[in-house]
Symmetry: C2
Subunit: 189 residues, 2 copies
C-alpha cells in the first residue's frame, strides 16, 4: 500500500532533471560527503568496485574540464554543442574514473550509468542540481593528466553540480517522454 | 541544511541492495505502474528514449528467462553461477530492450545502467526487492523470440522483482565496500 513515504520517494525519483545552469553559491561539504557515501555504496557488476571519482571544486580546473568536452551538432541545432560547457559554471564536479579496459567497456559503461544516476539523486536530495557532461577521447586523456590519474585509466563522464538556477531551468524547453505504451510492453512486445 | 526528508532520501539511496530471493506473494499493480512511470522518465543520452521494457509475470516465461542467463565462475567459487537463475523465483521481471546498434553499445549500456538503478529504487520505494540478471548472447536472442521482440534489438539485462525474502537476505554474506578514500579523491587522484 502506498503511504506518504512511498509517494515522496516515487516523486523524488520521477522528477529528477538534468541541470546545467547553477547559482554562484557554493555547495556545502555535508552534501558532498553524502553524495560520495551514496556513490561508494552503489552496486557494481560482480561487486568489482572498479569505479573511482575525483571531486573538483578548484575554479581553474572546472574551467579546464569544460574545454575538454565531446562536441556534436544535434539534429536541427544551429551550432555544435559542447556537452561539457556547463562545468565552467558549476560549483563542483564529480569526475568518474573507469579502469579503461577495452574488453569490458560495456560493463564499465553500465556501472557508470548506475553511479551517475545515484549521485544525481543524492545531490538532488540536498536540493543540489547536477548535469552529465561527456569528455571527448582526447579530452578524457587531458583530464587524466590534469588530475594526476594514472595512465590507462579513462575519464569519459563528469557530473557538474551546484544549486539550480531555477530561472534558467524554467526558460529551457521541457522535453517530454514518449507515452507509456511505447516504453513499456506487457508480457509480449 | 539536512532536514528529515533529505536524511530519509539519502538513507533510501544508500541502502539499496540486490535481492535474489523472493516471497511467493504477488506484487501489486500500483507498484508496477509507479516503477514503469519512473522508468519512462529516466533520462537517456540526448533524450534518445531508445530503451523499452517488457514486464513479464507469466510463470512459464519467468522460468524460461531464468534458463537464458550468462553463466560464469567467480574467483574461488566451487561451481558456475547462472546470473539469471533468480528470475525463476521472482513475481515479475522487467526485461530491458536496447536498439542493439554495435556503434553505440557503450551509450546504450550507460543508459541501461541509469534505467536499472532508477527501477530498482522505485521498486524499493514500494518495499519490493529487485536483482539484476544478465542474459548470455544466445539467451538474449532466445528472449527476443520468446517475447516477440523485433529482430536486431537486444536483450541483455533483466530485473527480477518480488517481496524480499528477508531471511535469505540476512543469510547472504554482506559484501562491504572499499573505504571512502579509495573511492573518492579530492582535487587530484
Amino acid at each position: 500500500m502506498a503511504n506518504e513515504q512511498t509517494a515522496d520517494r516515487i516523486r523524488f525519483l520521477r522528477l529528477l532533471r538534468q541541470v546545467r545552469n547553477f547559482e554562484p553559491r557554493p555547495v556545502p561539504q555535508e552534501a558532498i560527503d553524502d553524495i560520495l557515501e551514496v556513490g561508494r555504496w552503489t552496486g557494481t557488476a560482480s561487486n568489482s568496485q572498479k569505479l573511482e571519482v575525483v571531486v573538483v571544486r578548484d575554479r581553474q580546473k572546472l574551467e579546464a574540464l569544460s574545454g575538454m568536452g565531446f562536441t556534436y551538432t544535434p539534429p536541427g541545432a544551429p551550432a555544435p554543442v559542447n556537452t561539457a560547457g556547463h562545468i565552467a559554471g558549476a560549483q563542483a564536479a564529480v569526475v568518474i574514473i573507469t579502469e579503461g579496459k577495452a574488453e569490458q567497456i560495456e560493463m564499465e559503461a553500465f556501472d557508470e550509468g548506475r553511479l551517475v544516476e545515484r549521485i544525481m539523486l543524492a545531490a538532488n536530495a540536498h536540493g543540489i542540481g547536477s548535469g552529465i557532461a561527456w569528455l571527448s577521447i582526447e579530452g578524457g586523456r587531458a583530464a587524466c593528466r590534469l588530475l594526476g590519474v594514472p595512465e590507462g585509466r579513462r575519464i569519459k563522464t563528469v557530473l557538474s553540480m551546484g544549486y539550480t538556477d531555477a530561472e534558467a531551468l524554467r526558460a529551457r524547453p521541457k522535453r517530454g517522454r514518449k507515452p507509456l505504451e511505447e516504453f513499456a510492453h506487457i508480457e509480449t512486445y
